[in-house]
Amino acid sequence: MKHNTFNKITAVLMAVVMLATGCLLSACGGDKNYAANNTEFVIGMSGPLTGGAAIYGVAVKNSAQMAVDEINAAGGLNGVMFKLVATDDMHDATKVATNYANLYENGMQVSLGTVTTKPGLEWKNLSVDDNVFFLTPSASGDAIPANANGFQMCFADGNQGKVAADYINQNFAGKTIGVFYKSDDPYSAGIYQQFKANLSSSVTTVEAVFTDANTTDFSTQIDTLKDCEFIFMPIYYQPASIFMLQAKDKVAANAVYYGCDGLDGIASAEGFDINSIPQEVSMLSHFDSNATTGAAKEYIDKYVAKYGADTLNQFGASAYDCVYAIYNAMKAAYEADNSSISVTMSASELCEVLKAQFNGSFSYSGVTGQNISWDSTGYVQKTAIRYVVKPAASNEN
């Protein structure tokens, strides 16, 4: 009997606790305006500031801070300053929830999302509930901009085929180019299919494929491609390095290899001396860290003077553009209607303003491209450049 009473009391207590939790949760679920007491516009971000990927996170943080400092020095937005708050996720998705909550509860109104893709997927899910706008400099996963509040400054992984085709349509109309890809690999074949679908009919292709990862005797493929002066190879750097070694005497020395992000790291591949390859090795990118003119050159000079060349990379360049793109969009909205922007507005309110800009006719020109715009999915629309990993060996003949 006594035991029974205890059970009943426990059950009632449990019910009360559950009810109370339920109420609390539902109270939190609304778009609470943590920015109500802000005196500056707060931009949040999460990235690997320490750990193995720190070179990317630090570049993003430095560059974003540089852009914020410049904007503030020029008077901010109608006198209101900007503030960057960077949190460290060590490229670990499990740290993102805490970072996000801290940022949001401390008045974050707009964000750069994350630096890398895996934490970015977490950020994407968290930010959609609160309707926090993010423009990520470098989280390139296809699903990152899946929700209406997310946009990318970098090319999405699955969008590289189209971007490469655009580049080749512009530069090789009426010419013949070589294509070398791995037909049984989703990454390579995926880029290839998208590339072909977007390639202009005026460009002729000579194609060679390989299949199994262990098929590394490329004699036949090299024979097929040997007369091409421009070879597009959306493959990973390991087979690419083997191909280049086997082809170095057969393909013309003035030929150009052009890859996608799979070639990233080829210059430092173990045992591979990229300088033994006479041909030019290049890849699709939106930033040339050796630029000698234009906005990219200005950015490089400013960055190196302030932070040194160790962390100079496309991640930072992209982050610099992100901050300016957000600022320009806010400014455009403010100029169209000066009641649309206020320093105490909530993240959700600002998100609606920015979405209207990014989905509208807004475009931005900066370090990583001219007339950059965004399509309805949040993918960036801009021209790729050919980033030269290693220039052609100087012709001694």
Partner: protein, 290 residues
């Protein structure tokens, strides 16, 4: 002249397949087992070349070392893994061979890591004859495989050990009654097969400088296919099958429309041969007595 280049590339690749197929077919003919670890001996040969070449810089020394290591390894595997199973069901031996294959791959991964190594055995450049441009290494591979096959054929035909091998493959029981030491012949067969695998590893690296722990996997399967196409157990059959497969592979890669299906085409040949001529081109029909 494109066709001639493709043909030479195909013959050269086929030569490598033939060399590996010889290891399969000889072991099958004599020990009546499919040694699926054979492909991984190629990989061990490759890593031996990588290590010795890195230490000494001498490609000939590296090749000799690779042959020695592979022969010792092949014979050891036979003694430890296969000999206790002599007389066991073929399935048990087959599974053991697959186990040995994984063991070798995993050991190599533990020792050398999974990252691709680059091994440049010797930079021999390219020769141009008229409009045909071919790597010197391709021609060397082709020449060496022809030489190896001639020597092996002569060995089997004209030496006492060679004829003993033929005898064991024809009828193990009768050969034993005639005073042939069957265990010794099996050991010699494994030694020869492993030495050929080491050479195949060398030629593979000469063609393509990429070395991974799964290097032997696909060439091993292709060579096995070649051995079956040629008629498993038949030495000239393995050579024929290997060269056929190499040429088909290169021609298929050369034709853009069918290039992505190259592997499928190669293995379809196997299926067709098995349907039309189950013993392979040069295989002998054996009547099973019940």
């Amino acid at each position: 002249m494109d066709f001639i280049t493709t043909l030479i590339n195909g013959l050269s690749l086929g030569g490598i397949y033939a060399m590996i197929a010889l290891g399969y077919t000889m072991v099958y003919g004599i020990a009546k087992m499919l040694n699926f670890a054979h492909g991984d001996i190629i990989m061990v040969g490759g890593y031996t070349i990588f290590v010795v070449l890195g230490l000494s810089g001498n490609p000939i020394l590296a090749t000799v070392a690779a042959i020695i290591v592979c022969v010792v390894l092949g014979v050891t595997i036979e003694k430890i893994a296969y000999k206790p199973l002599r007389g066991a069901s073929p399935l048990a031996v087959l599974i053991t061979a697959i186990g040995v294959s994984y063991l070798l791959q995993s050991l190599a991964q533990i020792i050398f890591g999974s990252a691709q190594k680059i091994v440049i055995v010797a930079d021999m450049g390219t020769v141009t004859l008229g409009s045909v441009s071919i790597s010197v290494s391709t021609l060397v591979t082709l020449g060496c495989t022809v030489l190896v096959m001639v020597v092996l054929t002569l060995f089997v035909k004209f030496t006492k050990t060679g004829r003993a091998m033929v005898a064991v493959s024809e009828d193990r029981g009768a050969a034993q009654l005639m005073g042939i030491n069957v265990n010794r012949i099996i050991t010699i067969t494994f030694a020869i097969g492993s030495a050929l695998a080491a050479l195949a590893g060398l030629f593979y690296l000469m063609k393509s400088p990429g070395l991974t722990t799964t290097l032997g996997a696909m060439p091993g399967i292709k060579a096995f296919t070649a051995a079956v196409i040629g008629g498993i157990g038949s030495v000239p059959g393995a050579m024929l099958g290997g060269i056929l497969l190499g040429v088909v592979e290169c021609i298929s890669y050369k034709i853009t429309a069918i290039a992505p299906y190259t592997d499928a085409i190669e293995f379809s040949i196997l299926i067709i041969i098995l349907l039309v001529k189950p013993t392979g081109f040069l295989g002998k029909k054996r009547r099973e007595k019940v």
